[in-house]
């Protein structure tokens, strides 16, 4: 419900600014720096608990873990969640895996939860085999029976106003369930930790 509200809000605002956008964007030459700026904005807003309307609440979702149990994001409320959209077929995503493993080893005790939403990577057995091979020590989620991971991907794209087209895409969700940061493309352990530490 919350998500839908945010969605509608964004859509309305977007329609309002539709005409002015193209012009301004051509000036700003939007790229990563803009994204960083946006993220900084988000971070500040996240800390400011009075301004609820500008907070970007992470949409809840239900996905299956590799044993077939249903897992929801709400179950992880109270933990800092690193939500990683990835696939076994995606080279840049794989680069991040060892760093995630290390982060998990070091900061699980501090309340860190890493969740990999595994896209179009085959049946859970295949993903499990992959996870075992790589020694993945964090939660991997996949489709329950249809293509729920796609739905979740679309949901997070809509929620943040920016479609997730490429992976890896990773979000930091704080203990209150607020999206604090979005990364497109792979990052190193150090960068993740640097951003995570203020929420841990």
């Amino acid at each position: 419900m919350k998500n839908n509200m945010i969605l509608k809000q964004i859509t309305k605002v977007e329609i309002l600014f539709l005409i002015g956008l193209v012009f301004i964007m051509s000036l700003t030459g939007c790229d990563n720096s803009t994204a960083q700026q946006k993220n900084k904005t988000l971070t500040k807003n996240g800390k400011n608990k009075q301004d609820k309307s500008s907070e970007l609440l992470a949409p809840d979702f239900s996905l299956a873990d590799l044993e077939g149990n249903t897992v929801t994001l709400d179950q992880m409320r109270g933990k800092v969640v690193l939500l990683n959209f990835w696939g076994t077929w995606c080279g840049p995503c794989r680069k991040e895996i060892p760093d995630f493993i290390n982060l998990m080893k070091k900061h699980k005790k501090d309340g860190l939860e890493i969740v990999g939403v595994t896209l179009t990577s085959g049946p859970p057995e295949n993903i499990k085999a992959f996870a075992d091979k790589w020694g993945i020590n964090y939660k991997l989620l996949t489709d329950i029976k249809g293509n729920e991971t796609q739905t979740v991907t679309a949901l997070y794209g809509q929620a943040t106003g920016k479609r997730i087209t490429g992976i890896p895409t990773t979000f930091i969700i704080d203990r209150e369930g607020v999206i604090q940061k979005r990364y497109v493309g792979p990052r190193s352990e150090a960068i993740f930790y640097n951003d995570l530490k203020k929420f841990l």
Binding site: F17, L18, L21, C30, A35, W89, T120, G161, G166, G185
Partner: protein
Amino acid sequence: MRFIFVLSTFFNVILSQSDPVSFSSNIGSVARAGEVVNIEILASMEDQWHIYSVHKITEGPFPTEISISGDVIGSFGPIIEPEPKYVFDPGFDSETYYHEGDTEFSALFRLKRDLEPGKYPINIEVYYMVCNERLCYPPKVKTDIVYVEVEEGASRLERTSFASLNNQSDNNNSHTDNSLLGILILAFGGAIISWIMPCVYPMIPIIISFFGKMSEEKNVSRFTIASFYGLGIAGTFVAIGLGVSILSWGVTDIAAKSRYANIGNFIATDPFLNLGLGILFIFFALWMFGIINVNIAGKLVNKTDQAGQSSKSAYLGAFLLGVAFSITSFSCTVPVVGTLLVVAATGTAGGMLTSLYGMIVYGLVFAAPFVALSFFPKALDKIPNSGSWMETLKISFGFIEIAAAVKFLWVPDLEWSIGLLPRNVVLIIFIIIGTALIGYLAGLFSIGSSSNVKPFRLGRGRIVGILFTLFFLYPLTMSVIHPPTYHYDGMPRLMDEFIEALVPPPPTEDEIARKEGWFVDQYDEALEEAYRTKKPLFIDFTGVYCANCRVMERRVFPQNEVKEQLDKMVLARLYVDKKDSLSEVYSKMQFERYNQATQPYYVILDPFDESTLADTGGYIPKGFSQFLEKGANKFSKRDYNEK
């Protein structure tokens, strides 16, 4: 702040809608029904973005998949891609093969053979994932439609094979060992096998009789006449080889070449020739029984004597006997000779010479024991009581000549669909002949001049003859009792093969085969099925007249380990010797692709590009399952089966 956020958000929405890769497709020129058509699919990628190879697949990224569909597609050809680039991808910890920039793919397909002229839609579907250094877009599908224009006319030869349009696929799978040494070994070994083929038996009494008469003549050199006889046998093969070489000289039309190479099959199954041979053998039989007494050999010799010349005609007679011997044995020698004819049909000087040498070796080795036999009458003379002995032998051979006549006569009967000599009738005739022969040998009745010889005594020779006949009566009777059933293996294999060489093929086998899932004379359909189900395609090039084919079907295919392998494949049985256009297509296919004109010939094919995974030929009692396994394993290793 909020404003900037929304701005950047919207910008990114727009950005994400532009895909870094776009596709466009284009179809080749106007085509005709049955021809292979090429669809060009151009992938244009933005700088630094890449899609992955179709065929070179490594663990990790999804390969690009291109599929086409349409009602007019008869069978699918290969998807051709340019040589992919490769790089060590640390994310995958392995090499990955990819395409970047503008990349042109080709999708080949064959049009159905029964199409009206017009424009037909072909749907194209490309499934791909695109990545750069930092990001991957999840796999997605793009579709397109192109229209193929079909014009009036028969398919053009140079456009009917995937290989002819697929210049990128290396065509180095020439399987026949056409080296001179290989050919000579084949010719030598083949000749020795031909000695024991049933087709040569009927001629043996004629040889003995002819040379028996000759041995009485003093002015005929035994050695010279035997040489002429040998020359007649060997010369026939050499002449046929040369004939095919000359016919194929400078001919580029593969269909014509394949026809020449299949001349062996033609000779073995030509109704007129077989009718002639059948009548000849009836004449031989009557001669053996002493009912007619046209002593060719004697006449020839007498004539020459009168002329006072050296026995030229006797030599000519010996020579012609050799020719007749070669031709009558042709239905058994075709498997070996066929290979030599394929070489001859290359239409080059090298091919001509190689086939010539091969034919000489084959002819000489094949002739050797029968030339030796021509000395036999002399040795026979020294056996005591040879007159009565010879007489009995002659009468016995007379029975065999009748059987031989029936063997040749059912060919025109079958070809012209007369229906007088169906399989069971032929079998029963053989049984009657065999029973009569036993009766004769046991002294129950006598024939012709045998009455004026010595009183009947059941000697060693007669007992051997009876046992020998019983030995063949057994499988004949079994074949009648157990009507021709596919996969019938209750008979020793040698007998089975023997019978199949002598009697009309059981007509119902294809029906049973179809029920077992075989595609009979339906290559394109089988190929399509294999392509769809991602199974290797097993092709059984076979012939209506092919004895070894029947034996393989009955004795080898049902073996558990063979069946197990066959179950994993799509099965096609293609006849090459039916007198119809499809057989022409298939014999051409066998010749063109595999350089083979003998059956059975087995090929395991990759349905994705029609390339050969394994092939073998002939009767393979042992190791056939290994052959199948080899093909299946090769198939499973092919890249495109990952998915």
